[in-house]
Every structure is written in C-alpha cells, then in structure tokens.
C-alpha cells in the first residue's frame, strides 16, 4: 500500500497526525504516474506503440514543480503550527479545460496548444487555497466535445485503467482515469451532457455534476454556457463531498454562480437513508440507439446494468429508504435530440473567439487578408469535432431554421425540466429525495469502436444529459462490475441544490456494499 492508494480523507488524517508529509504524498503520486501513465499527450505524437496501448495517458502537462512548491508550503505551515486548509497535502489533477496561471491551458486543441493562461479558474484557485496540490493538467476530448476522450489533439489519448483497450469515457476521461489508476485521489472535471458522470461510470469512480451555478465557471474554457458544470471526481463519496465543499459557492467573477448558501455536505453524510424516498423510472431502463438506417430504435438496458441499479435499490430499501417505482420521466428520450441543437448553438457562439488574433494559434501559411487568415488558422487549429459543432450550431440557429430547431429544442428543455420538478415536488405525487438510475447505456466500449460516428457517440450520454438540460445535480458512483470485469455506474439525481441528500444516499450505498466482492477488484493497470 502506497500513500497514493489512500483517499483524500485518509491522507489528511495521516498528515494531521504528522505520520507523513505533503512532499512524501506528492512523491508517491508522481511515482504512480511514472509507473502507469506512459507518455503524456502531445501534438505530433507519431505512431501509437504497443507500450502506449498498455498505459493510461491521463496527463497532458505534469506540473510537478508547482505541486512541490505547494507541498513544501503545506509542510512549512504544519511545522510552524499554522492552520492548513481542509484538503492540505492532497494531490489533484485538473481537466485541461480550466485556465491555470502560467500553465499551458490547451482544451485538448491544437488551436490553444501554445496558450499559457494569464489567470486561474476559480475552482482551481479554491482547491489550492484549501491546500490541495495541483499535480497536472489532464487530457479530454477537444474542447470537451466527445464521450471517449479520443478526439483530443493530444495523443495518445487516455485509456481506461480497467482495460487499456477500452475508452475511459469522456470528456473528463483524463480526470477519471487519473483517479481510477490511483495517481491522485481527486480531480476537477466538467459535465455538460455527462462528461463527469459517464467517464466516472466507465472508470469505476465517483463523479459529481453539481447543480448548474453551484460551482463557478470563471476560468473554464466554455463549451455550452447554459449547461457546463465544473465538479469533483474521486474514489469515495466522502472525498467528493469534501471537494465540492471547497469549490462550491458564489463568485463575483461569474454572474451565473448562485448565491444560494452552500449546504454542509459532510456533517450529515453518514446519517443513512431511513425515510428517504428514492425513485425508479421505467424511462431510464429503456435506451435509444441509431438503427443504422437513419432512424432510431428503443431497446432494453443491458441486463447487467439494470441488475446493478435494482440491487442498489434493494440495498437502500434494506436500510430504510422507501423505493418509489414507476416515476414517469417521459421526456428523457428527447434529451439527446435537444442537446444536438442547444449545445451546438452555444458551442458555435463560444468558438468564434478563436481567430488567430488575440491568443492561440495563428497560421504560418501565407494569407492575403484577415478573412483568409481566419480560415487558414481555424482550419489548422480545430479538429473535426469543433468544426462539426460550429457548422451544426450555425445551421440550427440560422434565422430561417431557428423556430423549427433552436426554439423548439428550448421548449422541449422546459418539458425535461418539468419531469424533474414533478418527481421532486415536495407536495407532488412522488416527493422524491433522489431518482436512482443507470449512468450509462453500456460499460466502457473499445477504443476506435465508436469514434467517428458522432451520433452514436452522443447517445452514450442519453441517461446523463437530461440533468444538464434541467440544471439539477447528479452523481455517478461505482455499482459493480460486468462479466468483462468493467465497472458499471449507477446514478442519483436530485432537486436543485440537493447535493447534500445525494451524497447521503451515495454514502449509505457505499457503506452497505463495502464488503461486496467487486469492491476488492482493482483496475488492471494496478494488478
């Protein structure tokens, strides 16, 4: 057992008891990265070798000097008897979509490969202020556009620590893989359609999408501004709650950061679920996939995944929760079609700023005027996924199509929100504290199996995206292994700002299943 195998909570305890130092913890994390991560993602990576195929490749930029400086400061404070923050000495990684001052902040894109951020994102700043050690920036789908991390311009892209022939999910694949491979106990990700929860499910870790506005987006390179949510990735529910406690709250730099007081996520964490109402919806046990002929077909959820969710319901019922069956969430199936419209319109708008003028790449080819410089720069700088999103966003928001597509999608979004409002209404028919669902329609798929088919890839998020439309919080937690020994994720969704309740349910499930056999199995890269 190395220090890096411990949770943030355990590391804090050891540090508090002076049984280790922040520098020793950091060194342990760096050793683990050296053992399992392989070469970091880069532009012009050349051929992917058999050795590459056996490594995790979570990292783009290792910030070990910065982390060492932070660790020494924690140790100095402890030696001097000064107060340290709640995450003192805990290493964490940051999805490379957050700006961190004087650090390359690439968004996984060639167009920002040379961009060094002049300021630090609020959630990162709060982690560092809490004493956490920023050990590196991790890989992601380019501008977060994907569900497998394969679209990054920085290759080799991240692989799943449970089986390196599989994707880690995405877009926060580097975050979840770095946590699953025990490189770090915590990572900061973002979730726009499921980009924390889906890779958390694929990598067998805990991932939280907070209520929209619960965590500031200042310093987050924007994808879809009405949907983007920064959030924690960890291996335990307690660590996720501790991290959210640190990063949540209002921010004068982000007008959409809610001023609603942040709950105490830790005090009631182990109060159990007796009397809580937890819902199951048939609309989350049916999935939709493209039929290959331009249509879509509904099918049953894979049996192993459904079984894991029903097992979780049984476990929670045995602890005193009331399980409410047949909660209607009829607009779940429209989450992806509406997302194809709304997220693309917002992405196209956000991507206009990359033009080779103010920062980032400018083409070195010959150009005649401003417009030709724009075109050459954007063509070189953007990969296929950003281009696809720009074109789709422009099409569906064009004056002649806006009513048919964009406005209709925004009205469907209202219906999706109403599904959740009805389920959680304290005076309604269901009065749920949480809705229990599968996180993903499948477990981790093979590398290259889906990439390129943008529709099929998007449907990987079909069970997570409704929460983004509605703005409600969600958490994915490990719920077992399938017959291929790949992690299955289960999801809890709640009413606005009910993260405290979700953590409580999640922790109850975690404690009750602590001795189940699947919890003893470690990812293949560590066996």
């Amino acid at each position: 057992m190395d220090l890096c195998d411990l949770s943030a909570l355990e590391l804090s305890r050891l540090l508090g008891e002076k049984k280790t130092s922040a520098v020793e913890i950091l060194e342990s994390s760096l050793r683990r990265i050296g053992e399992v991560d392989g070469r970091p993602g880069s532009l012009n990576a050349g051929e992917i070798t058999p050795n590459d195929r056996s490594r995790v490749h979570a990292m783009i930029t290792l910030t070990e000097d910065l982390a060492l400086e932070q660790a020494r400061e924690v140790d100095r404070k402890l030696a001097a008897g000064e107060k340290v923050g709640p995450l003192a000495g805990v290493p964490f990684t940051v999805k490379d979509i957050f700006c961190v001052k004087d650090t390359p902040s690439t968004a996984g894109s060639r167009i920002l490969a040379n961009f060094v951020a002049p300021y630090t994102a609020t959630p990162v700043e709060r982690m560092v202020a809490a004493g956490a050690l920023m050990i590196g920036k991790v890989n992601l789908d380019e501008f977060t556009y994907g569900s497998s991390t394969e679209s990054s311009a920085f290759q080799p892209s991240t692989r799943n620590p449970w089986d390196t022939s599989r994707v880690p999910g995405g877009s926060s694949g580097g975050s979840t893989a770095s946590v699953a491979a025990y490189e770090v106990p915590l990572s900061l990700g973002t979730d726009t359609a499921g980009s924390i929860r889906q890779p958390a499910a694929f990598c067998g870790v805990v991932g939280v999408k907070p209520t929209y506005g619960r965590v500031s987006r200042y310093g987050l390179i924007a994808f879809a501004s009405s949907l983007d949510c920064p959030g924690p990735v960890s291996r335990t529910v307690t660590d996720a709650a501790s991290m959210l406690q640190v990063i949540a709250g209002p921010d004068s730099h982000d007008a959409t950061a809610a001023t609603t007081p942040v709950s105490d996520y830790l005090s009631n964490l182990e109060m159990g679920v007796r009397g809580m109402r937890i819902g199951l919806s048939p609309d989350y046990f049916r999935i939709t996939f493209p039929d290959g002929q331009g249509g879509f077909k509904e099918q049953e959820l894979p049996a192993e995944i459904e079984k894991a969710v029903r097992h979780a319901a049984d476990v929670l019922a045995s602890m005193g929760a009331e399980i409410v069956e047949d909660v209607p969430m009829p607009n779940t199936r429209y989450g992806i079609p509406a997302y194809f419209v709304i997220s693309r319109v917002e992405a196209a708008s956000n991507l206009h700023r990359y033009d080779g003028v103010k920062y980032g790449l400018r083409t070195t080819q010959n150009y005649t005027d401003l417009k030709s410089m724009y075109k050459l720069t954007r063509n070189e700088g953007f990969g296929l996924q950003p281009k696809l999103r720009i074109l789709m966003g422009m099409y569906v928001s064009a004056a002649q199509y806006s009513e048919q597509y964009y406005k209709r999608a925004l009205r469907v979004r209202t219906l999706i929100r109403r599904d959740f409002e009805a389920a959680f209404d304290p005076a309604g028919n269901y009065r749920l504290d949480a809705l229990l669902t599968p996180t993903t329609p499948t477990t981790a798929f093979e590398m290259d199996a889906v990439y390129g088919d943008s529709v099929l890839m998007q449907y990987a998020d079909q069970l997570t995206v409704p929460a983004n439309h509605a703005g409600v919080p969600g958490i994915s937690l490990p719920g077992g292994l399938d017959s291929a020994q790949l992690p299955i994720g289960i999801q809890l969704l709640g009413a606005d700002y009910s993260e405290d309740k979700l953590f409580r349910v999640a922790r109850a499930y975690e404690m009750a299943t602590e001795s189940e056999d699947w919890r003893k199995v470690k990812p293949k890269v560590l066996r």
Binding site: T259, Y334, R411
Partner: protein, 106 residues
C-alpha cells in the same frame, strides 16, 4: 434518408464559419450533420402546447439565488504584458492583424 443539408447549404455554412475544408473533411462533416439532423427530427414528434415557454437554462435565476449586477467600473489590467504576450503578433502594444477586406453590406 433525405439530405437536409445540401452541398450548397454546407458550403455557405463553411464560409460563414470561417473554415476551409478539404474534400474528405467536407464529405465527412456534411454526412455527420445530416445524421445528427435525423436525431433532431425526433423533436418534431413532441407535442408542444402553445403556452410552453422556452428555457434558456434549467435552474431558475431569481433574486434569491443571483448576484446583483456589478457596477460598471473601469478596473485596470494589472499585467497587460502577460495578456499581450499571448497574441500572435504585437507591435508597440498593439495587436497586429492583416488587412481587412472591404465588404459591401447588402
């Protein structure tokens, strides 16, 4: 399956988006766009009453959970050199761009 986005519409979008694609990219992207629109068409089946409003975001922003708008105050940038250092071409503290072509607005 009918192609909603024809080559002509696609080329127009590419120009508006300030992109320049080779034939292989253009073919792939146009095909993917049409595939995505097939999914989007699922929305046409959703019964929408006239009174259903649009939602620009999920969580309502009320006075209780929103910051008051900031005062419109000028705050000097403390390190303008760091900002300008990111620009691809700078001269005498100005960001340099190529000639801007004359366009007649219709």
């Amino acid at each position: 399956m009918s192609e909603q986005i024809s080559v002509e519409i696609f080329d127009h979008l590419v120009d508006l988006a300030a992109l320049e694609l080779n034939a292989k990219q253009a073919d792939y992207l146009r095909r993917q766009l049409n595939n995505q629109l097939a999914s989007v068409r699922e929305l046409e089946a959703v019964p929408l009453d006239e009174d259903i409003p649009i939602s620009l975001h999920g969580v309502p922003y009320e006075v209780e959970n929103s910051s008051a708008p900031r005062e419109d105050e000028w705050i000097p940038c403390l390190d303008s050199k760091a900002i300008l250092a990111q620009a691809p071409q700078v001269e005498d503290q100005y960001i340099v761009v190529p000639d801007i072509p004359h366009t007649t607005l219709k």
